[in-house]
């Protein structure tokens, strides 16, 4: 396995992966708040679709990062892989309420 030129140290990768989770969490909360402040009946669907979009936009890079890590070598590789997998799971779990909770009530 070769060292991937773009992947940093494993500890930094784990921190970066959870930073992506933090970004997802923050943006979901912001979009939810903004949407409830501004939406009308005609934009309800757009509001929810935007939140799904935010969620997926964060799931994709975490998945790609995990795949890249599985195929390459970095210092503290196991920490990088475990951290990224954990961040991916956390992001998926955090977005689940999108499927059943009312957005603004």
């Amino acid at each position: 396995m070769r060292r991937h030129p773009l992947l940093p140290h494993g500890a930094a990768t784990a921190v970066g992966a959870f930073a992506i989770w933090a970004s997802a969490f923050t943006l979901l909360y912001i979009v939810q708040a903004l949407g409830c402040r501004f939406r009308g009946a005609e934009t309800m669907l757009l509001h929810r679709a935007t939140m799904y979009g935010v969620w997926i936009v964060h799931l994709v890079p975490l998945t790609l990062l995990l795949i890249a890590l599985l195929q390459s070598s970095v210092p503290m590789r196991r920490v990088a892989i475990l951290g990224t997998a954990a961040a991916l799971g956390a992001t998926a779990w955090t977005g689940l309420p999108l499927f059943f909770a009312s957005a603004c009530q």
Partner: protein
């Protein structure tokens, strides 16, 4: 019995360099981490004693219904101070003391990165803590609860100085916490011995690193909230006043943005102690090192996504509740991973039940129980039923006492032979444990029931026919059993110190670095810093270290030398030359006190004088560092020669500034959040039309752009520094002249003025830094290879410019966008 002794002659030479002078002046000027760590720990324990006495008074009052022992006003002061003392003056400073004392020892270093900053942090803690606790003697202690909810803590409902004492005193103490966090982060990343990469760092160092990083991000929202509330109380800026567009919920957001991570900031260092002790007493290496590192990082992040679970009852849309509820459940997983790693290590090893392990077992039982009630409270419908009842009081004590106090008491017994050089003499510790364990559970287990029966928090009295009587009486009696346990613990420590036998080298056969030195530790820790690139058996390593055969096993030029390394690889990359004893931190602490204390009484000219003194002393402090000569390359032993005290981007000072700016950025983000919250979420009375972008705003933006541009090209150049200084000054003038609405009219105007003040302050700081760097340049302290002052100025100017441009957008564009 093996006792480690340094090579003849070397001990005296090193001790002469590193020791703290005797006498009063020596005590006041100490900067050595061993002295300061002990001092933090002892002071925290004194505050713990005070907080414990207050808890006893609370339990006496609640022992029987309609008790007349305390009146309502005094009870309010006592329970507020109990929570405040335990959280801010005991738990966090005890962790700081542990980190300050232990970190260099477990990292194989001779001291921390910034010894004078440690001393300054101690003085801020002592002065701020004394201010808060001393207020009780004058009957003006804070009385609005340890989380100071508005509007109760606002001027109309708390007209005295009680709330001001909390806001100003705790902010003063937080200066200490942020200083310690900067110190710990930089020290773990840079000030280790040679050959210790991140991947082989002791787990305790990982815990302390992550905890300190969490403090950098978590504490500033509280500092900001305290500043805003104090400004509201003193000058009428209505951030939290709903009659003028403010919102009390903004305070709750700011407080819990700090408050929930705080729980993990308290838990993680204790978990670090557990992760250190368990492998020692299980007689095998810990299982799942990598898993634990990931769990620590996960906890650090996830803990910032939980704060709204303290606000589930305030009326928040279901989806937002769902996000925070999901994160609240998620956080149990990394905690569980650590617990399983510990249990697995015990199962796979040959555990011996020594006294520290008894406390670890108590921790397992109590903390897991507290964690489970935490999962219950993370479920929104249950939280709505139990919110603000004694169930929550029980839960938080199970988590904090179980998750912090029990492991820290175990840690105390584990490291006391290190601190004192003595072993325990009697078996008082075991008796103390059982009194504490039984007393604790009988005190707090019944509170789950009184809470479920409807007993609210913070009531000073209750009617006799509610079914709460016997449970409260049981809690009160048991709390005295607990108090006896603590008294025995204290007696045990004093007896050990006075009568204990001399501790052998490495009394627990831990084989870790902190035991590879004589105990109590010498002022310089290691006669030579261990070279870990070729690990040898621990006993041989300890002897070699003591004989001075590893790095820096000598004294030269009167320098206090310690190695610094590349953060990831642990390769030595420089020798740090650390400062000796000085009164400067004390003077700085007194100047900081002059800044804070007069504000309590509205004596703002004195506050201004304090600010001027702090700036002046900071510049004097910085000026005392550096050299007019380029740094020499010096031999450090083991055939290696590296540069001494490089004044460039490798310097810990550069890392320290970056860490401080992370904290400052967190404060700015919280302020931006406040501005957005007041415009978007708060159910406000409408504000006037937004102010159009004026000439002053354009002036400020141009100045910020100039500063940023100059900072971007950070090569040595007087012209660039001049542009940065002029641009920052221009930005400051622009922000001060900005035609904003009066801050007392509306909360949104108050927030806009606060943002403008933030930018003006930072632009002013960047100007001063640029002028200072110009002076350093002219005095010959700067060259092509000594460009630290320029790099730091560039970083500060770029930061001021970045936040300034964001702030201008928040002030001018956000209101337009909302409309």
């Amino acid at each position: 019995m093996t006792v480690l002794e340094p090579a003849p002659g070397l001990d005296g030479e090193l001790d002469a360099l590193w020791r703290t002078p005797h006498g009063r002046r020596g005590w006041l000027s100490a900067v050595n981490h061993t002295n300061l760590g002990r001092r933090f720990i002892v002071t925290a324990c004194v505050f713990f004693g005070i907080g414990g006495l207050l808890a006893m008074l609370i339990r006496i009052q609640l022992a029987t219904p309609a008790n007349a022992f305390l009146n309502a006003g005094l009870y309010n002061q006592i329970f507020t101070l109990h929570g405040t003392v335990m959280m801010f003056l005991f738990a966090i400073p005890l962790f700081e003391g542990m980190a300050v004392y232990l970190l260099p020892k477990i990292l194989g270093a001779r001291d921390l990165a910034f010894p004078r900053l440690t001393a300054y942090g101690y003085w801020c803690y002592l002065f701020g803590g004394s201010l808060v606790v001393g207020s009780l003697a004058f009957g003006v202690a804070p009385d609005a609860g340890w989380f100071m909810y508005t509007p109760l803590s606002s001027r109309p409902y708390s007209p005295g100085i009680n709330a001001d004492i909390w806001l100003i005193g705790i902010t003063f103490v937080e200066v200490s916490a942020v200083s310690a966090a900067v110190e710990i982060v930089v020290s773990v990343l840079k000030v280790r011995t040679g050959g210790m990469p991140l991947s082989r760092m002791p787990l305790l160092a990982w815990y302390l690193l992550v905890t300190a990083a969490m403090m950098l991000v978590g504490f500033p929202p509280l500092i900001l909230g305290s500043i805003l509330l104090e400004i509201e109380r003193a000058f009428g800026w209505p951030f939290f006043d709903p009659t003028r567009g403010g919102d009390p919920l903004l305070w709750q957001h700011l407080f819990w943005l700090f408050g929930h991570p705080e729980v993990y900031i308290i838990f993680l260092p204790a978990a670090g102690a557990v992760s250190t002790m368990i492998p020692v007493f299980a007689r095998r290496p810990i299982l799942g090192y990598d898993w634990i590192v990931v769990s620590i990082v996960a906890l650090a992040f996830l803990s910032f996504g939980l704060w709204v679970h303290h606000m589930f009852a305030v009326g928040i849309p279901h989806l937002a509740l769902g996000f925070f509820s999901a994160a609240s459940m998620l956080v149990a997983i990394p905690t569980a991973v650590q617990i399983f790693a510990w249990i697995g290590t015990l199962l796979a090893g040959r555990p011996v039940l020594r006294l520290p392990m008894l406390f670890v077992c108590g921790f397992f039982f109590i903390f897991v129980a507290g964690g489970l009630t935490g999962v219950m409270l993370a479920v929104v419908p249950f939280d709505w039923q139990a919110h603000d009842t004694h169930f929550v009081v029980a839960h938080l004590h199970y988590v904090l006492i179980g998750g912090f106090l029990f492991p820290m008491m175990g840690a105390a017994y584990y490291w006391l032979p290190h601190l004192t050089g003595r072993m325990p003499v009697y078996n008082l510790g075991t008796v103390s444990f059982w009194l504490l364990f039984v007393g604790f559970n009988l005190t707090f287990l019944p509170m789950h029931l009184t809470g479920l029966l409807g007993m609210p928090r913070r009531v000073y009295s209750y009617a006799p026919d509610l079914g709460w009587d016997w449970l409260n009486l049981l809690s009160s009696v048991a709390s005295f059993v607990m108090a006896m346990g603590f008294a025995l613990f204290l007696a045990d420590i004093l007896l050990q110190r006075r009568f204990g036998e001399r501790a052998p080298a490495d009394p627990w056969q831990a084989g870790t670095l902190e035991w590879a030195m004589p105990t109590p530790p010498p002022s310089y820790n290691f006669a030579s810093q261990p070279d870990l690139s070729h690990p040898s058996p621990s006993e041989a390593l300890a002897s070699e270290i003591a004989a001075g055969r590893h790095f820096l096993g000598f004294a030269r030029n009167g320098w206090r030398e310690t190695l610094a390394v590349e953060a990831a690889s642990g390769r030595p990359d420089q020798v740090l030359l650390l400062p000796g004893p000085t009164l400067l931190p004390l003077w700085m602490g007194l100047a900081t006190a002059l800044f804070f204390v007069p504000a309590l009484f509205g004596l703002y000219p004195l506050t201004l004088l304090g600010a001027v003194l702090v700036i002046g002393l900071t510049l004097a402090w910085l000026w005392s560092m550096g050299s007019r000569d380029d740094p020499p390359t010096v031999p450090v032993g083991r055939g290696l020669s590296i540069v001494a005290a490089p004044a460039d981007r490798r310097s810990p000072l550069h890392w320290g500034l970056a860490a401080a700016l992370v904290a400052d950025g967190s404060l700015f983000a919280a302020l931006g959040f406040g501005q957005a919250f007041l415009h978007l979420v708060a159910p406000n009375v409408p504000a006037d039309d937004p102010v159009p972008i004026g000439a002053a705003a354009i002036l400020a933006a141009a100045g910020l752009a100039a500063a940023a541009g100059a900072a971007a090209g950070s090569r040595v150049s007087q012209a660039r520094l001049g542009i940065a200084a002029a641009g920052s000054a221009l930005a400051m003038a622009g922000m001060l002249l900005l035609p904003l609405p009066a801050p007392t009219e509306h909360a949104q105007a108050a927030a806009a003025n606060a943002l403008a003040a933030f930018v003006a302050l930072h632009a002013g700081m960047a100007s001063i830094a640029a002028l200072y760097s110009l002076a350093r340049l002219r005095a010959g302290y700067v060259s092509a290879v000594r460009d630290l002052a320029l790099r730091n100025t560039a970083l500060l100017a770029a930061y001021a410019a970045g936040t300034g441009i964001l702030a201008l957008a928040l002030i001018h564009l956000l209101p337009l966008a909302v409309r």
